[in-house]
């Protein structure tokens, strides 16, 4: 079976309908314990005090903010090359989730930064590229809303997405590019043999569970919203036939 078979809206609706209850259950089983563990059961950090508890919200949402944009880049590219409607609708469905994740990361970063850095905001490379990425998310959503013709809207938003992906990449690697600014390097590096995590295990374990929980929540919302977009496309077609 080829992955492209799921580009068929009927097959996508059937498969996503089966997956949604399982994914919802997995989200509840990962996200709620992760947040409880992080907030109630982890100790204060020696330097950061209780503000370290913000990590369980800030890092997963920032991680998703960047990766949702990457997912939109891939699905937009699929639309531009192969003209699969489900991929364009999946990108459209993902944008508000990505915008909310970016906004949460910006807000939690500001309220964490104030007591630690003494300021809510600095024009640091990572923070600035994140703000620009948020503006691209808003622009992408607005462009979809502004164009009535669906295929034209998908074409133009895909091009906008490609341009904005530069800032998603910069957001991810800004610290490595410039090696300056207040924002630290990544808090949750992938482990390689012989390397240690930058975060103590007592914080790292609930953080990994929290990232998994937020990722599952993203999958649930993505499937749900893509299904809604497919139904809306069908509603438009039926109404056009009636008229």
């Amino acid at each position: 079976m080829s992955i492209w078979e799921f580009a068929n809206p009927v097959r996508f609706m059937r498969l996503s309908g089966r997956l949604l209850p399982w994914f919802t259950g997995l989200t509840v089983l990962t996200l709620l314990p992760a947040l409880y563990w992080g907030f109630f059961l982890t100790p204060d950090d020696a330097r950061q005090g209780a503000t370290v508890k913000i990590i369980y919200v800030h890092v997963p949402t920032a991680f998703l903010a960047i990766n949702i944009y990457f997912m939109m880049f891939v699905t937009s590219l699929i639309w531009l090359i192969r003209r699969h409607h489900v991929s364009a609708l999946a990108a459209k469905a993902a944008a508000p989730i990505g915008a909310v994740m970016t906004l949460i990361a910006l807000i939690t970063g500001a309220v964490w930064g104030q007591p630690m850095w003494g300021t809510w905001w600095v024009w640091d490379p990572r923070l600035t590229s994140f703000l620009i990425m948020f503006i691209f998310y808003i622009g992408y959503i607005a462009l979809w809303a502004a164009i009535d013709e669906a295929d034209k809207a998908a074409d133009l938003t895909s091009i906008l997405c490609m341009i904005g992906s530069v800032f998603a990449i910069v957001s991810r690697y800004a610290v490595n590019f410039w090696n300056q600014g207040l924002h630290q390097g990544t808090s949750a590096p992938l482990l390689r043999p012989g390397e240690e995590t930058q975060v103590s295990a007592v914080f790292w374990q609930p953080l990994m569970l929290s990232i998994a929980g937020f990722f599952m929540l993203f999958l649930v919302l993505l499937l749900l919203r893509t299904r809604t977009e497919i139904r809306k496309r069908r509603i438009t077609a039926l109404r056009a036939r009636e008229a």
């Binding site: 508890k53 919200v57 939690t108 919302l221 919203r225 139904r231 109404r239």
Partner: protein
């Protein structure tokens, strides 16, 4: 019972509150729009079947 957050209670609680409000809103809107679209589509499909 809340853990003792000391002098950082305001930023920590503000971070969690903003997350719950924004994500809660997104989840509610997503489910409501999904439910509404399902209902509308079912009504239109029913109408189409009757007309055929």
């Amino acid at each position: 019972m809340l853990p003792d957050l000391g002098k950082y209670a305001v930023p920590v609680l503000a971070a969690y509150a903003s997350m719950f409000v924004l994500l809660g809103g997104l989840i509610l809107i997503s489910f409501k729009r999904g439910k509404d679209s399902k209902k509308t589509l079912a009504r239109l499909e029913e109408k189409r079947k009757k007309n055929v």
